[in-house]
Structure formats: C-alpha cells, structure tokens
C-alpha cells in the first residue's frame, strides 16, 4: 500500500465515528454486499461516512491490507475494524451492532 493511501485511510477512519468503505454510494451501491451493508446502517439510523472504493484504486487495494480483510464493504466504528457485510448482518440480527454503537457513544435512531 502506498503511504498516501495509508494516510488517507487513517485520516478517514479516525476522523469519523462510523465509516463504510463500499462499492458505489449509499444511494447507488454497485454490489449486493455493499447494498446490504448500507441497508443495515440505514435501519439503525446511524450517521456514517462512506468511501466509494471504485473511485480510488489506491484505497481499494490499500483498505484490504489495512484491515487484513479481502473484501469490500468494510465497516469501521471509532477507528476499529468491525467486519464485512456478513458480520454486520449477524451482529445486526443479534442486536450486537446497535449495542456496540451505543457502547461507543454513537447516536442511533433506534
């Protein structure tokens, strides 16, 4: 990963409480997995920043090394990597995701 990509990833992840790295945008997700991740965050009513990796090859590759996670989407809360869409779904269904957000002091609508 280039230093430039790393520093941009770090500033995004540390500068926002909740960040979703995804393919496409929340309004126009370009992949079913990203679409699922957006739907979960929307359901929780949480404010989040999103990064469209399709617009940036450096970040698209770099984010996989950053988290040692091979796929996108990737969710970060308060700088911590939480997981991809499967883990988000499991945690959402069990209530762990809203608990985690609450524990981290992130406001949700529910």
């Amino acid at each position: 990963m280039t230093d430039d990509a790393r520093s941009r990833i770090e500033s995004t992840v540390k500068g926002n409480d909740v960040v979703l790295f995804m393919k496409g945008t929340p309004l126009f997700p370009q992949c079913g997995f990203s679409s699922r991740a957006v739907a979960i965050l929307e359901h929780l009513g949480v404010e989040y920043a999103s990064v469209d990796v399709l617009q940036d090859q450096g970040i698209r590759q770099g984010i996989k090394e950053y988290s040692d996670w091979p796929t996108i989407p990737q969710l970060y809360v308060k700088g911590e990597f939480i997981g991809g869409s499967d883990i988000m779904m499991e945690m959402y269904e069990s209530g762990e995701l809203s608990q985690l957000l609450q524990d981290q002091g992130v406001a949700t609508a529910h």
């Binding site: 997995f33 996670w69 091979p70 796929t71 996108i72 939480i82 997981g83 499967d86 883990i87 945690m91």
Partner: protein, 77 residues
Amino acid sequence: MPMAAQEIETMIKAAIPDAEIEITDLAGDGDHYAARVVSESFRGLPRVRQHQRVYAALDGRMGGVLHALQLTTAIPQ
C-alpha cells in the same frame, strides 16, 4: 475462473481439519456461494478473526476469483 464448491471445501478443510463445512451454490452459477463453517478452533476468537481464518485458508482467492462467498462461522454446540 469460478471455483467449484468441492475446491472451496477442500481448501478450508486442509487449513481447519476439524471444520464441518456446508456450502450452498446460491445462484447455481458456480460463482456465488454461501458457506457455513463450524469449528471448535474458533472458540474464544472474535468473529472477525474466525472469518479471517477461513479467508486465510482460501489463500488469496477470496476477493479475487471468489467474489461472492457469504460466510457464517460458528462453534459446535
């Protein structure tokens, strides 16, 4: 080149020998799978680490030739 379900199972089994593995071909196209992997060795690991072990077993194929693998991990009941 998509991967065959058998090949996915063999690779996971090689890395996690006690794993019980269930693979479903979601779209019938040999390219969109769901896998459920149950192993005692996951005990005590956070979910991210459990999934990372399965991805490591697939040796770089995940996110490459294998685009869509919906993964669930669990510890035996």
